[in-house]
């Protein structure tokens, strides 16, 4: 069990940010809340640098795409307070046509590659990132493959065409 309960954490967060964060939920005991691209940097800094909370470890940054939503691209942060043994998850949804969000590299050096990966697969622009280029895919790639608008299959493949199966 953590030294810091989720309730205490929620109290601290709402006292600090009020309406600027969404109502937190606890799926599988993992505290989850949303915020906006304008607030995210402040939220991360608060969680990391607060003397009591000490969320000093950035576990992961990743993305998600819901084409049907108005704000279609999500950026998900997983934070871990090693001293308090408690985790938190922050979701930020941004405009899919202009996906911009401030970088977290000023807070954690480790965010560098995570943000490059999220850029590589979802096309999220992390403003202020020192070197926002593709990290896993080939440099010549023109699409962001984990967005749902792109087909997962390789278009060069012919052996799965319908006419081979009488369709």
């Amino acid at each position: 069990m953590g030294n810091l309960s989720n309730q205490q954490l929620v109290q601290r967060l709402t006292a600090r940010f009020g309406e600027r964060i969404t109502v937190p939920t606890e799926p599988f005991g993992l505290l989850t809340f949303g915020t906006s691209a304008e607030t995210i940097e402040e939220v991360l800094r608060f969680l990391k640098e607060d003397g009591e909370l000490k969320f000093n470890y950035l576990t992961d940054i990743t993305g998600i795409h819901f084409p049907e939503l108005e704000l279609s691209i999500g950026v998900i942060y997983h934070l871990h307070s090693l001293t308090n043994n408690v985790r938190a998850r922050i979701k930020v949804f941004i405009d899919g046509n202009n996906p911009k969000i401030p970088t977290a590299t000023n807070l954690w050096e480790g965010a560098n590659w995570m943000e490059r990966e999220t850029y590589d697969f979802f096309g999220v622009i992390f403003e202020g990132h020192p070197n926002l280029v593709r990290i896993l895919n080939v440099d010549e790639m023109t699409v962001f493959p984990m967005r749902r608008e792109y087909p997962l299959e390789d278009p060069n493949r012919v052996d799965k065409k319908d006419y081979f199966f009488g369709r």
């Binding site: 896993l136 895919n137 080939v138 699409v143 493959p145 792109y150 087909p151 997962l152 299959e153 390789d154 060069n156 493949r157 052996d159 799965k160």
Partner: protein, 180 residues
Amino acid sequence: MSEVNIVEAPPGIEGSGFFATSMEKVVGLARSHSLWPLPFATSCCGIEFMATMGSHYDFARFGSERPSFSPRQADLLMVMGTIAKKMGPVLKQVYVQMAEPRWVIAVGACASSGGIFDTYSVMQGIDEIIPVDVYVPGCPPRPEAIIDGFTKIQELVRNESLRRRESPEYKELLSRYGIQ
């Protein structure tokens, strides 16, 4: 000592004190029993190849005593495993660094066709970037299958015309892949 097997002489004219045959057949025979493979192993097919190389299946008995881990001295490129698109240029460069004559064997479903990885990041068969002589099916193929593929390569090597690599068809094949 076990019995030593020696390959049969190629067809030719034999008389007392002489034996005549064509150069092509002798060279083919020699090459086919001294193919130096370059294993390019990226995944589980590579593990099967390690078993093939090991003492039980003893790949060396077919003349591949020396797996060459440099492309410069290799005759046969054995591609075993999934080749991601990012790996494509690397594989092509390895192929280009090999000296003629060179042969390529695609071991396993991934190297042959992309296999189960029908996805944006995986090359759908290495024949998109380099010419392939023999495909070995399987996911992964057993060592016996790899050896079978290798004997098919030996068959090709043994019967290849010495002038094949200078032929316009071969040059056209290479230029189709953008290789000089």
